[in-house]
């Protein structure tokens, strides 16, 4: 296969009508336990979820929000009133038409349970249904990111029937009430074994051109069968043996070997992650001072670290310090890259010596995500070379998260990755005070406010650049490199979008 061989969704529309039918067999890493995409932030939920649920808006190819379930929208002069017209003829999987009151209830729930939603809620005065197909969102202050917020995929503002939204409240939606508007609906969910989605026959596609998560969606395949296969190696074996058409988590180490596989395609996915060194700003942390953070930044050779952890260059390029992927035009920025590129181990060692850090640096990491664990191992050797003692502590993921939050005095560094597909700076988790690391800065708060108050693209652009500048000035965390998700599928599965992991509309099975 060739890299990037999988075309975008659009390319499918070019030739004759693709073949209908067939079942896609997909391997995902485990049982998501809930398909409630509005609540769960994990990829196991999102991967099937994006085929089931839709939002009012959705990101296009270049991460710009486009109407999805919305037909159109108007923004008032003062940027405080959004009037959104809903698309006609959209029905839920239970056959009921989607109406404004469903949207209102869905957005209410979103404001309660989603991180982005709660952030947005601070600016939202009310969400009301004007008539069956019009929703008005009234803001207390301008919020430039509102449409992007509504288009987000992580704990996204999915539109579900009002009764479902109200019944679930803050709890996960039970499996039998997983009802969306997307091109596929849930047929069965056998805990522990798998999920089966089937084509939603009454799906009403948007007329806009298909792009990213937005636009026209056609379900060519009859069904998608997700199997839970925990071991990545087994996912690969299954792919090779023809047991699966697509696998979620093939190790990046397979990238090069698989490029020569006659049966399989490998490609990188656009909506990927940014590998980040998370720093603790707690006063007990060695990195509560900006000097220490700067020394650390100098000590790290980002390229070497990326190479060691992620392997082939395609998987971590282009190398830069933005919190957003280059494809994510509105959020990506090169500002501060001179700091990012600084690599001077000697200077770092000298600075550390001057700071007189005399206790081991405590790095928390988890083998649940092997790549970040590997980053920790590399970082360990980097720091040891810089003359520091290092204590790497490894936990299973839930334990690590719980320790990061509940024992803020117990760690200095952790490894993680944040979504590079954020649609607003406020979604950058390491900038949020409620995220482990306790970062808070008035300068940053001001810049965030500037962004929210933006009313034009230019203003927003300037704010994004300023935020990047400040990030590389104050170093709340250190972004290392994009961490491209590997897309792996059999050649039989054609025209699968590489925008995000596991998009099965517009894809079809060849002969």
């Amino acid at each position: 296969g060739s890299s990037g061989g999988a075309g975008t969704a659009a390319s499918g529309a070019g030739g004759g009508e693709p073949a209908q039918g067939g079942t896609v067999r997909a391997a995902i890493a485990g049982d998501p336990t809930t398909l409630d995409m509005g609540l769960n932030t994990g990829s196991l939920t999102i991967v099937p979820g994006i085929n089931i649920f839709e939002n009012l808006f959705a990101m296009d190819e270049s991460f710009v929000p486009q109407p999805m379930l919305a037909e159109s929208y108007e923004v008032s002069e003062d940027s405080r009133i959004y009037t959104i017209r809903l698309r006609e003829g959209v029905t839920f999987h239970n056959g009921e038409p989607m109406e404004a009151e469903d949207v209102v209830a869905s957005l209410e729930r979103w404001q309660q349970i989603s991180a982005t939603g709660t952030a947005a809620a601070a600016a939202i005065e009310s969400v009301t249904a004007d008539d069956a197909s019009t929703v008005t969102i009234q803001l207390t202050q301008p919020r430039y990111s509102l449409l992007a917020d509504l288009a987000g995929a992580i704990q996204g503002a999915i539109i579900i029937p009002a009764e479902v939204a109200e019944a679930a409240g803050e709890s996960p939606i039970p499996t039998e009430e997983i009802i969306g508007t997307g091109p596929f609906e849930v047929e069965s969910y056998t805990t522990g074994t798998g999920i089966k989605l089937v084509r939603y026959e009454d799906y009403a596609p948007s007329e806009a051109e298909s792009s990213g998560l937005s636009g026209e969606k056609t379900a060519y395949v009859d069904a998608i069968e997700y199997s839970f296969v925990a071991d990545p190696n087994q996912q690969l074996n299954g792919l090779k043996a023809g047991q699966y058409d697509w696998a979620q988590s093939i190790s990046a180490d397979q990238y090069e070997p698989l490029q020569n596989d006659p049966q399989l395609d490998v490609f990188t996915v656009k909506s990927s992650l940014i590998a980040t060194v998370l720093l603790n700003h707690n006063e007990n942390s060695a990195f509560s001072s900006v000097e220490a953070r700067r020394a650390l930044n100098k000590a790290i050779d980002k390229k070497a670290m990326a190479q060691a952890s992620f392997g082939p260059e395609d998987l971590w390029s282009p190398l830069n310090g933005s919190f957003a992927l280059p494809e994510n035009a509105p959020m990506h920025s090169e500002a501060g890259s001179e700091v990012y590129e600084e690599h001077d181990p000697e200077a770092a060692a000298a600075e550390f010596a001057e700071l007189g850090i005399d206790r081991p640096i405590r790095i928390f990491t988890s083998q649940t995500y092997p790549k970040y664990y590997q980053m920790a191992v590399v970082l360990q050797s980097v720091l040891e070379e810089a003359g520091l003692e290092v204590d790497v502590q490894i936990y299973d993921f839930p334990t690590m998260i719980s320790k990061l939050t509940e024992e803020p005095e117990s760690w200095d560094i952790s490894m993680t990755a944040f979504s590079g597909a954020v649609s607003a700076p406020s979604q950058v988790l390491f900038l949020s005070p409620s995220w482990p690391g306790e970062y808070s800065s008035e300068t940053m708060d001001g810049l965030m406010a500037d962004y929210s108050a933006s009313t034009s693209e230019e203003e927003a652009r300037a704010a994004v650049d300023a935020i990047h500048e400040e990030i590389w000035n104050d170093l709340p965390a250190i972004s290392i490199a994009p961490n491209r998700t590997l897309g792996t599928k059999s050649k039989k599965l054609q025209d699968m979008s590489d925008f995000s992991s596991g998009i099965f509309w517009n894809a079809h099975l060849g002969e």
Binding site: A304, Q367, P370, V377, I394
Partner: protein
């Protein structure tokens, strides 16, 4: 995890529960030992294999390159002149790591065994000697046996924050019943031995009686069982590491090396080979040496091995055909061929 308890169960059941202690004393005589080695070269061989592995893991790290030096450019190389066993995903030398991991794994096995022996002996002896305690102790042992080790391992790993200690403590607890059961049965039997009664009649206190007369006489049985615990602890440790619940990298153990290597099975198939062979070899050596040693002290096992010996001799005799009484020897081998 569960797989490992199965193995241990086997060892548990196959160890002598009783047998004249006199046999143990007899076994100590060096002449007998030498003769046994001659009779059973396989025991001698496997003991030597294990000893060699211990020595290698103790001394190897001094002569081999560093087990932790990374060379990202050289990741996942196959065996070569420079790296005999190849390199891992960080470009570290697998030979050095396998040898160093031997230290950790074998060390953990030893500690687990020590803990299990100390706790098992205490519990087993107490339960067998003071009858009222037996119900409690036996239920406790049942409870441990019936408890999923993975829950225990996980809890310990998280609370103790140290992979080595948590594995040692966790497996120590898990294997305690296997020692305790043997000790319990042996002490129960030895309690009825004439010399224990005689000691009681001689005014020896119960504690002294246990220490002086009983425990030393079940020591061989404990030792043999400890060998099997050791072997199974190695496998259990590997299993925990495989699930990510064992000793945490970068400290290598054979188990976590296999756990890592499995992700590179198709890219670097030799990676998984060497730590695996190391485990199999050491467990095999322990088990087989243990079997042989057991034959030294357990009359039943000794009888078994002597029967095998008889057959071997008979077979050899027949092949050699060197004896005057070859007609009779024919009968012997005829019998054994059946």
């Amino acid at each position: 995890m569960t797989e490992m308890t199965t193995a241990a169960a086997g060892a548990g059941a196959s160890v002598p529960t009783a047998g004249p202690a006199a046999a143990a004393a007899r076994a100590r005589r060096p002449g007998q030992l030498v003769r046994f080695v001659v009779r059973d070269p396989s025991t001698a061989f496997w003991s030597a294999v294990f000893a060699a592995m211990v020595l290698l893991s103790l001394l190897g790290p001094f002569v081999l390159p560093s087990h932790s030096a990374m060379e990202p450019a050289d990741r996942l190389l196959g065996p070569s002149g420079e790296h005999w066993f190849g390199t891992d995903e960080y470009g570290r030398d697998i030979l050095a790591r396998t040898v160093y991991a031997g230290r950790v794994s074998l060390g953990i096995g030893l500690l687990v065994t020590l803990i299990a022996v100390v706790c098992g002996v205490l519990l087993g002896a107490i339960a067998a000697w003071w009858k009222p305690t037996s119900a409690v102790v036996l239920r406790l042992m049942d409870g441990i046996l019936a408890f999923p080790p993975i829950v225990l391992a996980m809890a310990l790993l998280v609370t103790l924050q140290n992979g080595i200690i948590s594995v040692v403590v966790g497996l120590g607890i898990v294997f305690t019943p296997y020692i305790a059961r043997v000790v319990y049965a042996r002490v129960l039997a030895l309690k009825e031995e004439g010399y224990v009664t005689a000691a009681t009649a001689s005014g020896v206190s119960p504690v002294r009686n246990i220490l002086v007369h009983i425990l030393p006489n079940c020591a061989p049985a404990i030792f043999i069982q400890a060998i099997f615990v050791y072997a199974n602890a190695l496998i259990a440790d590997a299993s925990l590491s495989f699930l990510g619940l064992g000793v945490q990298p970068p400290t290598p153990t054979w188990g976590n090396m296999i756990g890592e290597a499995r992700y590179f099975l198709s890219v670097a198939p030799t990676f998984i080979l060497f730590p695996g062979i190391a485990i199999i070899a050491s467990v095999l050596a322990l088990n087989l040496a243990g079997d042989g040693l057991r034959a030294l002290i357990d009359p039943r096992a000794r009888a078994v091995s002597s029967l095998q010996y008889i057959r071997r001799r008979a077979a050899r005799r027949r092949r050699g055909g060197r004896d005057a009484a070859s007609g009779a020897a024919e009968a012997v081998s005829g019998a054994s061929a059946r």
